[in-house]
């Protein structure tokens, strides 16, 4: 049985595209990261209320934004993969998941580290932190389902169903967790609103958000290429076994 080439046509084109983008996104990441860190740690003044701890926000908030936007990107590419049977879309969702999970985990850790000086405890059942925790479970579920199937094309479809159902539920979860938080609002805990976004804080925040996005794109390109080549490798090995079977 010959290697089934028609399915690699657009991945090859896709990879030529990403190879072209890669140096740019790498450069942008380094640039944004350097300037972001400079502004976050050195240039911006300490906050009148929270003092230096506000600097944690420059790492916490971008991570939280990325965690959510990566998940929605996965849901969109899963839908594209499902509707137009686009093989690369499924793989890109699979490639993005670990990065999204890392951002989500970072948001949780930095959130806890920010919570300690603010409220005296590492974990406070604050609405956003709780939603981030649930999002982390959704990431784990997504990655687990890829491992559960040995047939990759089946795994892609199952994962697509899961991430679409997950994405539909995220606003519902966000709404109910926010609402649940106000219901059990112990009087003493200040909300996570933090300082109103003052310009000296906005620039490092946006720079860091840009740096995280560029970093994600860079990691994404590496991982998607690895997924596509891994798929090709798996098929070539399969055909080799099959051809041996015929000769043997």
């Amino acid at each position: 049985m010959a290697v089934d080439l028609h399915r690699f046509a657009n991945p090859a084109r896709f990879m030529r595209l990403t190879d072209a983008i890669f140096p740019w996104s790498l450069g942008l990441t380094v640039l944004l990261l350097a300037s972001g860190l400079y502004y976050a740690l050195i240039a911006s003044p300490q906050d009148y209320q929270q003092g230096e701890t506000v600097r944690i926000m420059f790492v916490h908030v971008p991570a939280a934004w990325m965690a959510l936007s990566v998940y929605s990107m996965m849901a969109i590419s899963a839908a594209v993969g499902w509707i137009w049977k686009h093989p690369v879309a499924d793989l890109s969702a699979k490639a993005a998941a670990p990065a999204g999970a890392c951002f989500c985990f970072l948001a949780l850790v930095t959130g806890a580290l920010w919570g300690q000086p603010m409220w005296g405890t590492y974990w406070v059942w604050d609405a956003r932190l709780t939603s981030m925790l649930i999002l982390f479970f959704l990431y784990l579920g997504y990655m687990a389902i890829w491992e559960a199937f040995d047939d990759q094309s089946k795994a892609a479809k199952a994962a697509a169903i899961l991430v679409i159902i997950g994405a539909i539920n995220i606003p519902v979860i966000k709404f109910s967790v926010d609402w649940w938080n106000t219901l059990h609002q112990p009087a003493s805990v200040a909300t996570m609103e933090g300082p109103k976004i003052h310009s000296s804080i906005l620039t490092p925040l946006l720079l860091m958000a840009g740096a995280y996005t560029a970093l994600f794109v860079t990691i994404f390109i590496i991982r998607v290429k690895a997924e596509i080549l891994d798929r090709r490798l798996r098929i070539m090995r399969m055909n080799q076994v099959q051809e041996k079977g015929l000769k043997g």
Partner: protein, 221 residues
């Protein structure tokens, strides 16, 4: 439509004939719930405080244990292939099975919850709202659960994955279910919470059969 009713009645008859599965689920629910007073202490005021939450979490976990029964047995003996080859659209076939699962696995949980609520020293007039909140919210448990069950049917250790996939999606129902009961205990109006629960059920009634059917087509391939 008779095919829809056929599947529903066959599944109910099967569940009744294999009554042991039902008693196991109920006993798990009772045992899991009675562990809490042993862990937390017999202090009645505390138990009354945590009662709604414990009962809802217990019902939710007990329901989750029964989810793989929706499709697994049919997958193993080949009935699933035959069901997918019938003239009834797969989505409706899935809905019939979900309905049967809800009636035979989840409703019994709802029936015995008030009895357990008494052991948690919950006020008697709140038992009605407890049962009502379970009644309105539990279809979501079966519906979303069926998507997880369809995704993990035929898997060797599907049970663990099933809970990881399904539990995060149960959280909104848990939050508003408990909120409704706590509102009732505090003699506040619980109407809005119950309406939201009903809305969750209606919403998943639309989405989940389609997702489950897609997942089943995948599993049968």
């Amino acid at each position: 439509m008779s095919a829809f009713f056929r599947i529903f009645s066959r599944d109910v008859r099967l569940a009744v004939r294999q009554g042991s599965a039902l008693t196991m689920t109920l006993s798990f629910f009772v045992i899991a719930v009675t562990l809490f007073p042993l862990g937390v202490g017999p202090e009645l005021s505390i138990l009354a405080r945590i009662g709604p939450g414990v009962l809802w979490v217990g019902a939710l976990l007990a329901c989750m244990l029964t989810l793989d029964r929706i499709f697994q047995a049919d997958y193993e003996d080949g009935s699933l292939d035959q069901l997918m080859v019938g003239t009834l659209p797969v989505e409706l076939m899935v809905l019939a099975k979900i309905l049967a699962h809800w009636l035979t696995a989840v409703v019994p949980l709802i029936i015995i919850t008030p009895v357990l609520a008494i052991t948690f020293n919950m006020p008697l007039d709140s038992l009605g709202v407890m049962a009502l909140s379970l009644l309105l919210g539990s279809p979501v448990l079966s519906l979303i659960g069926s998507v997880g069950a369809a995704l993990t049917v035929g898997m060797r250790r599907g049970g663990v994955l099933l809970s990881l996939l399904v539990l995060p999606l149960y959280i909104p129902v848990l939050i508003f279910g408990v909120a409704a009961v706590e509102a009732a205990i505090a003699l506040l109006p619980a109407g809005s919470h119950l309406l939201l629960l009903a809305a969750f059920s209606a919403g998943s009634l639309v989405i989940c059969p389609i997702a489950s059917a897609a997942a089943l087509r995948l599993a049968v391939e």
